[in-house]
Symmetry: C2
C-alpha cells in the first residue's frame, strides 16, 4: 500500500444502502486529500478552544488552516453533517469527530529507530502525546547510546526491536537511522508486525503492498524551494522591450 494508493482494492461500497437502513456505517470513503487536511483542522481547533471559542465558521477555520473555506465545508461534510447552517460548527464536537475519524481515540504507539540528532528531536517533540500518538520505544544500534534516557524513555538496543514492538503493542515504526540501515530496519519492523512506516532516511523503501509508507525528506523540500526561486528569477528580466 503506497502513500498515494487509490483504494482500488477496497470493496467499493454501494453509493446508497438498499433501503432506509438505520445503520450509517459504510460511508463512501474519505478522500486522501481530505485526510491530509484533517490534522490541520484538528490543530487549529485545539488552538481555538484555548482562546475560548465555542463555535467556528468554515471561513475562520479556513484562515487558521490556510485553505479555502469551500474546501473546509466539503471536507467536513465527508465526515457527516456536523455544522449548523447560519451558525457554524461546534468546536468540541468537531474535535471529537475528527479525532475519531483519524483513529486517535485509541492511542497509537510508535517506535523510533535511530536516536541520533533527529531521533532526539522526535523523541523530545511534545506535540505527539496530546494528539493521540504515544512513543512506546526508542531503539538504537550504538551501544554507547543504550541506556540513555531521552524524553523520559530509555534507549534500548535495536536487538530488542521485536520484543519492544510486542510488549508495547507498537503499530507504527519511525525510521531515523542512517541511509544504509534504513531498508534493513524497515524489513525488521514489517516482519515484527508493524504496518505503517514513517521514513526520514533519504532513500526509497521497498515494502509489500500491505504496508503503508510515508516519507519525509528534508533535502527534497529544499530542492523544491530552489526550483521556485529559479523560476522567480527567470521571470524577472522582462523581455517586452527586446523586440524593438
Amino acid at each position: 500500500m503506497t502513500v498515494d494508493e487509490n483504494g482500488s482494492r477496497v470493496v467499493s461500497a454501494a453509493p446508497f444502502p438498499p433501503d432506509g437502513e438505520p445503520v450509517p456505517r459504510e460511508r463512501p470513503r474519505v478522500p486522501e486529500a481530505t485526510v491530509a487536511r484533517l490534522p490541520l483542522y484538528l490543530r487549529a481547533l485545539n488552538t481555538l478552544t484555548e482562546t475560548g471559542a465555542v463555535v467556528v465558521s468554515s471561513e475562520e477555520l479556513a484562515v487558521a488552516a490556510g485553505v479555502n473555506s469551500a474546501q473546509v465545508r466539503k471536507d467536513l461534510s465527508q465526515l457527516g453533517s456536523y455544522g449548523i447552517r447560519g451558525v457554524g460548527y461546534d468546536v468540541t464536537h468537531l474535535i471529537r469527530e475528527i479525532s475519531r475519524e483519524l483513529g486517535l481515540t485509541r492511542p497509537r504507539s510508535v517506535a523510533i529507530v535511530g536516536i541520533g540528532n533527529l531521533g532526539h528531536a522526535l523523541a523530545g517533540y511534545g506535540g505527539f502525546a496530546p494528539r493521540g500518538v504515544r512513543i512506546g520505544a526508542l531503539l538504537d544500534a550504538d551501544p554507547a547510546r543504550i541506556g540513555e534516557t531521552v524524553g523520559g524513555l530509555p534507549v534500548r538496543s535495536v536487538d530488542e526491536l521485536e520484543d519492544a514492538i510486542r510488549e508495547e503493542q507498537i503499530t507504527i515504526g519511525v525510521i531515523a537511522t542512517p541511509v544504509g540501515a534504513a531498508q534493513a530496519t524497515c524489513d525488521r519492523l514489517v516482519a515484527a508486525g508493524v504496518l505503517s512506516i514513517l521514513n526520514f532516511a533519504p532513500t526509497t523503501l521497498v515494502v509489500g503492498d500491505d504496508v503503508d509508507v510515508r516519507k519525509v525528506d528534508l533535502s527534497v523540500e529544499l530542492q523544491i524551494l530552489s526550483f521556485h526561486e529559479r523560476q522567480r528569477s527567470a521571470r524577472l528580466p522582462v523581455r517586452t522591450e527586446v523586440t524593438w
Copy 2:
C-alpha cells in the same frame, strides 16, 4: 505564492515557436507534481553513478524512485528530449539537466533559525552540501547556545539575523523554532529579503503572496498513518457471517 499555486500569472507560452527558432527558451511550464519528483530522480541517479552505470532506462529509474515508468518518461520529457530510443538516458547528462532545472547550478544558501534538537539534526545533515544547498548561518535566541559550533558553523544570535542574511546571501530560511516564535521569525526572514521558507513548526504561517512556504509536520504525518491503520482494522472483521 502558496505551495500549490498553479502559476496562473505566468505568461502562457505558445506551444510551438513561430518558426525554426534556435532558442528553446519558454518551455510550457513544468507541473508542480513533476518538480516534486525531480529530486527523487536526482538522488537515484547519483546512487547509480556510484555503481558505475552510464545509461539508465525509464524502467530502472522508476524502480529506484518508486514510481511508474511512464511517469518517469513524461516527467523527463517536460525538461526536453534527453533520452535515446531503444537505449535509455545518459546518466551524467540527466543529472546535469535536472540540477539545472532545479536551480542547483548556482548553490542556494539557507539559514537555520532555532538550533534545538531539530536544528542540530538539520545542521548536521550531510545530505545538503552535495545537492547544491549550502548552510550559510545558524541562529538561535538562547544565549547559552550562541558560540557553540554545530556542523562546522558557529551559532549566532538571532539578533544578527538580518546581518547574516545579507553577508551570506541567504535566500532560504528554515524555521526550527518553538511554535510561539515561528510567525515572528518568519516575518523577520521575509523582511530581510528571504522569499522561501521551510517551516518545521506546527503552525500555519501567514505570509504575502510572493513568499513560498513549505511545511514539514511530523505529527500530521503520524496522524495520516493512524487514519490508514484505523481503516485497515475496520475492514478486517468480515461481516458476511453476521447475516445468518
